[in-house]
Symmetry: C2
DNA sequence: GAGTGGTCTAGACCACGTT
DNA sequence: ACGTGGTCTAGACCACTCC
């Protein structure tokens, strides 16, 4: 027989009580044992439910003190990051890309700094325009640390750098930042826009754990939004 | 004796094998039972480790077929959303805000649409300028469905709307979207900037589950970034 | 020292999806 | 039908933290 209170049901019930203000922000809630007794299930089941709520920022839990409803809730917004081709195709649009530039270069100091590298090193500089239904969608400006990459393809016209990396250097460490910036005259031209125009910008930097791999700046055409539920 | 392979150690070991390409994208990995035997632990411990990796988008798991390394990884980027005061103070800056406008108004159709409300309803329109170290930081434009809110404070000069809501309507459902926009002349003036200027914009809409509560647009002064590790 | 959450175990049954 | 992950149980020990 299916237990009437699985961990998801318990999580939902706890959320209900919090939203109904039966348990108010800052207030203690019963211990796992008490709730297990109330719901007629094992403590591990209650633990699973409360652990997920703590992870979501709804509860604060400490040994000995017990669990409280968060007083200053820190909600977590989670966004999916995937390769550009799938993002475009996921909207039902056709995907294409154009390699604008590919050359060895000494990057600006800001890029070296983001990668934590010393000066005067040459990196592979790739600039790519991504298209959705043949309309400019995203301008990619990437620096690649070729020293740590095995078997680089002869050129990146067949498969985008983006996809080559996720296939060949999977699950690297990294960080990502979102911001807004005015398009430079060249960016506006490449995206087919007239200035002034505001671009949504995502910057990613990735490492293998010891060596830096790549720093990339993605400038999205106007209208782009990243969205999620809370 | 502490088990040499707790679930975190197993998660780390699986990640190591994936990054070392011992287990390549698209490839099957052993079943939970096999790994439990290999690591000398209970299946539940392996399950915990693999479940977290599936949640992070690293593994794809299906009953009967088993677990595979994701071929087209969808990494999850998670950002913390908190009240503006804590965000500013968390940077070591002093926080203040100015209530610019507070009046009952019929909102534009776009706002009613986001809230899923029918036309011609009056909502409370609040515009607030948030300051960090006395410098304009964020321009907030909010519409509040006063009909569902109990005990509204007399005015929002003492406590920001933001904080009043998290205390009194905790853990509502909602969505959030990030985008970029050119500042309007008025926005530029209020933020003390000269046009043209690109603003980072966050839009949130929240419900109690049945009734809409608020729709808010947050326009951040240049330099603002949301950042996280992957 | 004592109370609470964090984790692990060994076993069980079920849900799902492939065959 | 069968194999695999998803969940639950009852119990145990430990880690942390407050007293």
């Amino acid at each position: 027989m299916k237990p009437p209170f699985g961990w998801e049901a318990i999580r939902a019930e706890v959320m209900r009580r919090i939203r109904a203000r039966e348990w108010q922000p800052g207030q203690s809630i019963p211990t796992e044992e008490q709730m297990a007794a109330e719901f007629g299930c094992a403590r591990a089941t209650v633990n699973r439910a409360l652990r997920e709520l703590a992870l979501a920022g709804v509860l604060e839990r400490r040994r000995k003190s017990g669990s409280r409803v968060a007083l200053n809730p820190v909600r977590k917004a989670s966004f999916d990051i995937t390769v550009t081709r799938l993002e475009v195709e996921g909207r039902g649009q056709s995907y294409a890309f154009v390699l604008l530039e590919e050359r060895e270069q000494v990057p600006p100091a800001a890029v070296l700094d983001r990668l934590g590298m010393a000066g005067n090193q040459q990196l592979l500089h790739l600039r790519t325009l991504h298209l959705a239904d043949a309309v400019p969608f995203l301008l990619e400006d990437r620096w690649l640390n070729t020293g740590v990459l095995p078997d680089l393809p002869r050129d990146f016209r067949a498969m985008s750098v983006n996809e080559w990396l996720v296939r060949n250097m999977p699950f690297t460490y990294g960080d990502i930042a979102f911001s807004a910036a005015l398009a430079t005259p060249e960016e506006a031209r490449l995206l087919g826009l007239t200035e002034p125009v505001a671009l949504f910008v995502a910057e990613r930097t990735t490492w293998t754990g010891d060596a830096p791999i790549t720093a990339v700046r993605l400038a999205y055409a106007p209208g782009y939004r990243v969205q999620t539920v809370l």
